[in-house]
């Protein structure tokens, strides 16, 4: 199949940036979107042009690095997948595909489709950890966790920090990400020590990074490759109230 790509090219963070059209003529429907970009890049290198820069690592939907906006959808069309899990069969022969980086004040573009997501790391540093005693490894069964709590925490822990929630949110809000992290730890016994400080500090850091606020549009839940539910945002709000009162 053949597709036309309209890709955002930007040399570095100071460059203005612009869309450039590329024809991808030898695309197999079984290729992943990233493989298709690889093929386009090989063509560019052969012509002596600079390849399109994009983040990627695991290529199996677990590292969270491959985020990009494809035809106005975070990680492209389809639900519950990262860009590396998007296949070209999701498009029609002859389609024009617009590819843009995540857009948010807190995610400055580094180059082309790569953005700086360290703002999420700084939110983690502000409270996304638990205190642990040093010494020998405790017995795995020594701390009892009820099954529903374990399941709920595990659902939240599925977040891969890709930033799709920020990218699709009309407010560039990081609430779903922060909620997943706060929720996961606040449900588990291991997370109790810093429970109040965690939610306050992570929200304060989120605001400092200039992410927007949550309007409960629930677009994040729809686009999250891991299907993180907005009920975690409800829990985040509840945790903040609990910490304050």
């Amino acid at each position: 199949m053949k597709v036309t790509l309209k890709v955002w090219r930007q040399k570095d963070k100071n460059d203005e940036g612009r869309f450039v059209d590329y024809a991808a003529d030898e695309v197999s429907p079984d290729m992943s979107f990233l493989e298709m970009l690889d093929v386009v890049n090989v063509g560019l290198v052969k012509k002596g042009e600079i390849p399109i820069a994009f983040d990627h690592d695991c290529r199996e939907g677990i590292c969270g690095s491959c985020g990009m906006m494809i035809n106005g959808r975070a990680h492209g069309p389809g639900r519950g997948i990262a860009t590396c899990q998007l296949h070209m069969r999701s498009f029609q022969d002859g389609d024009e595909i617009v590819v843009e980086p995540w857009r948010a004040q807190a995610f400055p573009v580094i180059k082309d489709l790569m953005v700086d997501r360290t703002a999420l790391d700084r939110i983690m540093q502000a409270g996304g950890y638990t205190s642990a005693k040093t010494g020998g490894v405790p017995d795995g069964n020594a701390i009892l966790v009820p099954k529903p709590a374990a399941d709920e925490a595990f659902d939240a822990a599925a977040c891969i920090g890709c930033g799709a929630c920020v990218a699709i949110c009309p407010n560039s809000s990081a609430m779903l990400f922060v909620a997943a992290k706060v929720s996961q730890l606040s449900i588990l016994p291991q997370g109790q020590a810093e429970r109040e400080a965690r939610v306050e500090n992570m929200i304060a850091q989120m605001d400092e990074e200039l992410f927007g606020g949550c309007s409960n549009t629930y677009a994040c839940e729809a686009e999250c490759p891991k299907g993180i539910s907005v009920r975690h945002i409800g829990r985040l709000n509840h945790e903040l109230l609990r910490a304050k009162l």
Binding site: G72, G234, N237
Partner: protein, 228 residues
């Protein structure tokens, strides 16, 4: 005090303030609708005007009602101010826009147009307060609310604007009501269906009830004459 200011200045804190003020305004809507439905009675305004008089002149109710009234104005101003500032902050969070942005596939219309519906409600409130509240309370001329209502709503443009405003209010509350519970952390699995059910009262039944007043008066152009 510093704690309260810091809370209000955090994005989540300000949304919590918006949810509480928004829900308080929702409570007022119930009372306001029940009272105003008295306008539909063909009793020459006896019931409605008695109700209006009770609200302003009853010696026992006077002080508590003035306090509630001031508090209501305060919550509306705080809600509107918070909404406008939250919206501005959210716009600054994405300085470079997308070329292609598929938000419509991921979020409901009402949730994406909260600011738009809010501005229309604000416009409506200004016109509405000027026409009724200030006229009946402080105006020089007619203090008979029943007559003012029947006269103004006889004008189809005026009635049309009111009906439009209630549709807009319906959209604001279609998203806003459940959103407030989400903001307060109460929209849990257990309560979602209850919240959605009660929400119908606020985004459908109440706006419909308000809209019925101008519609009824428009359809009964002789109700003034009948009433006299």
């Amino acid at each position: 005090m510093n704690g309260i200011i810091a809370f209000y200045n955090s994005t989540v804190g300000r949304k919590i303030v918006m949810s509480l003020t928004g829900l308080f305004i929702c409570l007022f809507l119930i009372e306001h609708l029940i009272g105003n439905l008295l306008l539909l009675l063909q009793d020459g305004g006896a019931s409605f005007n008695a109700y209006a008089e009770f609200l302003t002149t009853n010696p026992y109710a006077y002080l508590p009602l003035r306090i509630i009234e001031l508090f209501l104005f305060f919550t509306i101003i705080v809600h509107a101010w918070s909404g406008i500032t939250v919206w501005l902050k959210n716009r600054r969070a994405r300085p470079v826009k997308y070329n292609t942005y598929g938000i419509a596939e991921n979020a409901k219309f009402a949730s994406r147009w909260m600011f738009g519906t809010a501005l229309l409600i604000l416009l409506f409130l200004i016109i509405h307060l000027k026409e009724f509240f200030f006229e009946m309370r402080f105006g020089e001329g007619n203090h008979n609310g029943y007559e003012i209502a029947h006269q103004t709503f006889a004008n189809p443009y005026y009635s049309g604007f009111y009906i439009f405003a209630f549709i807009v209010l319906g959209f604001h509350l279609y998203h806003g009501f459940q959103s407030a519970f989400q903001t307060l952390g109460l929209r849990t699995k257990k309560y979602i269906s209850l919240i959605e059910a009660v929400a119908v009262i606020f985004w459908f039944i109440i706006p419909l009830g308000f809209a019925m007043i101008p519609i009824y008066i428009l359809l009964h152009p002789y109700s003034m004459a009948l009433a006299k």
